[in-house]
């Protein structure tokens, strides 16, 4: 049914249609609306026999999800930012144990300095924790990806993170098509676990593994994740047949046929990039877009195929590996190994800074004029940065960096 609703509400309804059996969560912005809505649905009896478990922290949320999943229950949770970091140890346990938990990550920056707004640092910080990571471009995709995620997780017996941009998607009202219960039931079979903690047939899960077998266990974790690269396109095609629209997949190309420049990105910024590209195309600029829908496992072959014919690649990403530069760009380099294609990382939208068409057009034109290096920070205020650095050179007790930057930003605003 077509509906104008909030992204969080749409995701909650999709999770509800997947017939979860245990939902546990600890509130953190911008994820809270999702579990609030699910909490109401459980309380009303709409999701019976689903149980909603309030926990005291994100670490507990993931631990409860692990226990519930190991007992054979279809388990769901959601988090963001510091909450995801607080789960870190349990995240590795969930994937290491092969438990098919589905979790929404409402992407948000990581402090310090504390910042509640959107970027991808949270999800990227856990990119190697063994979870599959899918990224939504809009709220329809966020909704649909959860249905796909449960099927993928349970088939592979691996946990899946569905990443959606905090606030930009979670708090946006837009048109979504909510499928019917029978459509979802036909697509998502009941959970048949590969391992169950059952008093009637006791087994051990999570025993110590020494050097004699640890490599093999880790190899299998890798091999299983790589199987997702074959399953995702197949199930995306089935999804299309069942629901009449595209979802998931690995990499989506847009206007790249004859593109000399291809912009690769993840998440909701793809929409703004596509609008910018349409305007540049109208002026005869040969530019296209590659949207990465699946970040883990990293789709080496699909990324290479999407980008191989480009003369240059711009990786626009909302995350930064301090001391390296772009995280997604570093992955793109592995996919294009052996090719001479210049790859420019553009770090944008950190801590919720708006990514505008005007700024995108400027940076794309700079790339085409060979003015970009390996890493560029979109809309960086260099005057502020230089003043703070100058103060650090001049004064030993220069004070806290974030507060110094705020002071300089205030001075600059006052002067203009």
């Amino acid at each position: 049914m077509l509906k104008q609703t909030e992204g969080s509400r749409a995701v909650a309804e999709a999770v509800g249609l997947c017939r979860p059996e245990v939902i546990c969560a600890y509130p953190i912005s911008p994820q809270t609306h999702i579990v609030e809505a699910l909490g109401e649905m459980v309380k009303s009896g709409a999701l019976a026999p689903c149980e909603f478990i309030n926990v005291e922290s994100e670490f507990a949320a993931m631990s409860v999800a692990i226990g519930a999943s190991a007992a054979g229950a279809r388990s769901y949770t959601a988090t963001a930012s510091q909450g995801l970091l607080f789960m870190a140890e349990a995240l590795f346990n969930a994937s290491g144990l092969g438990l098919p938990i589905v979790m929404t990550v409402a992407n948000r920056a990581i402090g310090a300095p504390i910042n509640i707004w959107n970027d991808h640092t949270d999800a990227m910080s856990q990119r190697d924790c063994g979870w599959i990571q899918l990224f939504a471009e809009n709220n329809q995709e966020a909704l649909d990806l959860h249905i796909l995620a449960f099927r993928l997780a349970e088939e592979l017996s691996l946990p899946v993170m569905v990443c959606m941009d905090g606030f930009i998607l979670t708090h946006a009202y837009e048109r979504v098509d909510i499928p019917t219960q029978s459509q979802v039931d036909a697509y998502l079979p009941p959970f048949v676990p590969r391992q169950v903690l059952d008093p009637a047939e006791p087994v051990s899960i999570g025993a110590m593994v020494g050097p004699e077998a640890f490599t093999e266990v880790r190899y299998l974790a890798h091999a299983k994740q790589m199987q997702a690269l074959e399953l995702i396109p197949r199930w995306a095609a089935e999804f299309r047949a069942a629901f009449g629209r595209d979802v998931g997949g690995l990499v989506h190309s847009y206007r790249t046929e004859d593109a000399e420049t291809i912009v690769l990105a993840l998440g909701s910024v793809l929409g703004t990039i596509k609008d910018t590209v349409d305007e540049l195309r109208a002026r005869g600029v040969r530019i296209g877009v590659a949207g990465v829908a699946c970040f883990r496992p990293w789709p080496h072959a699909a990324v290479r195929e999407a980008l191989a014919h480009a003369q240059r690649v711009i990786v626009l990403e909302k995350s930064l590996a301090v001391g390296v530069g772009g995280i997604v760009a570093t992955n793109v380099r592995t996919a294009l190994a052996g090719l001479a294609t210049p790859i420019h990382a553009v770090i944008a939208g950190l801590g919720g800074r708006p990514i505008t068409k005007a700024s995108l057009e400027r940076v794309f034109m700079d790339a085409m004029a060979d003015k970009l290096g390996i890493n560029t920070f979109l809309d960086l205020d260099t005057t502020v940065v230089e003043r703070v650095l100058a103060r650090e050179r001049d004064v030993r007790r220069s004070g806290p960096i974030a507060e110094n930057v705020l002071k300089q930003v205030g001075l600059a605003a006052g002067a203009s």
Partner: protein
């Protein structure tokens, strides 16, 4: 694409207004996108929310920097925040006030704009009358339905009923309909005046 920016203060239902506007547009078969400015939404602090309306899917995610219409829920913001930033030529302004643009001290500023696009409605008073609380958002949306004919008052009423129930919905709908007629009358008067001048 038509872009609306709503300015108000935390507690005045600014975000809800943008959401209801998007629901009204959706009910009329349009694509619409509503989103808040994602600040720390403290009671009384300046808050901005956005709504885009189009005939096709909206992919753009940047804040609205060049609005086609402005809705100002609290006139005390006029001298605190640059609410007019980026307003397009020929754009519309709807302010929650009983006063005129000159009385508000912005007469000089709006001199170059089309007078029939500069509208006011006493939304807070209408809300107090019909809802019993100073929540001007629904009344302003009713007023907005009369501003440029982009959405109908019935769609606004339906959107209000989707967000609220019972007496709150009744009161807000009544406030919205009263505001609609108030602004409609104003539009007719200013258009009449404009025609009289050109004659």
């Amino acid at each position: 694409m038509f872009q609306i920016r709503i300015h108000g203060r935390g507690g005045q239902g600014v975000v809800t207004a943008a959401e209801m506007l998007s629901i009204a547009a959706f009910r009329e078969g349009r694509f619409a996108q509503a989103f808040p400015s994602f600040g720390s939404e403290r009671t009384g602090a300046p808050v901005v929310a956005f709504c885009r309306i189009d005939e096709r899917e909206i992919r753009l995610r940047e804040p609205i920097m060049q609005p086609d219409a402005l809705i100002v829920q609290d006139p005390t913001l006029l001298h605190q925040v640059n609410v007019f930033a980026g307003l397009r030529a020929g754009g519309y302004i709807l302010i929650n006030t009983r006063r005129t643009f000159d009385d508000l001290g912005i007469g000089e500023f709006v001199r170059g704009l089309q007078p029939e696009h500069l509208l006011t409605v006493p939304a807070t008073e209408l809300a107090l009358t019909h809802v019993g609380r100073p929540v001007p958002n629904a009344a302003l949306l009713g007023g907005f339905a009369a501003v440029c004919g982009l959405i109908s008052i019935d769609a606004v009423a339906a959107a209000i009923r989707e967000k609220f129930a019972g007496a709150v919905a009744d009161g807000n709908e009544a406030a919205a309909r009263a505001a609609y007629h108030h602004v409609l009358e104003q539009v007719r008067t200013t258009q009449g005046a404009a025609h009289a001048q050109t004659d």
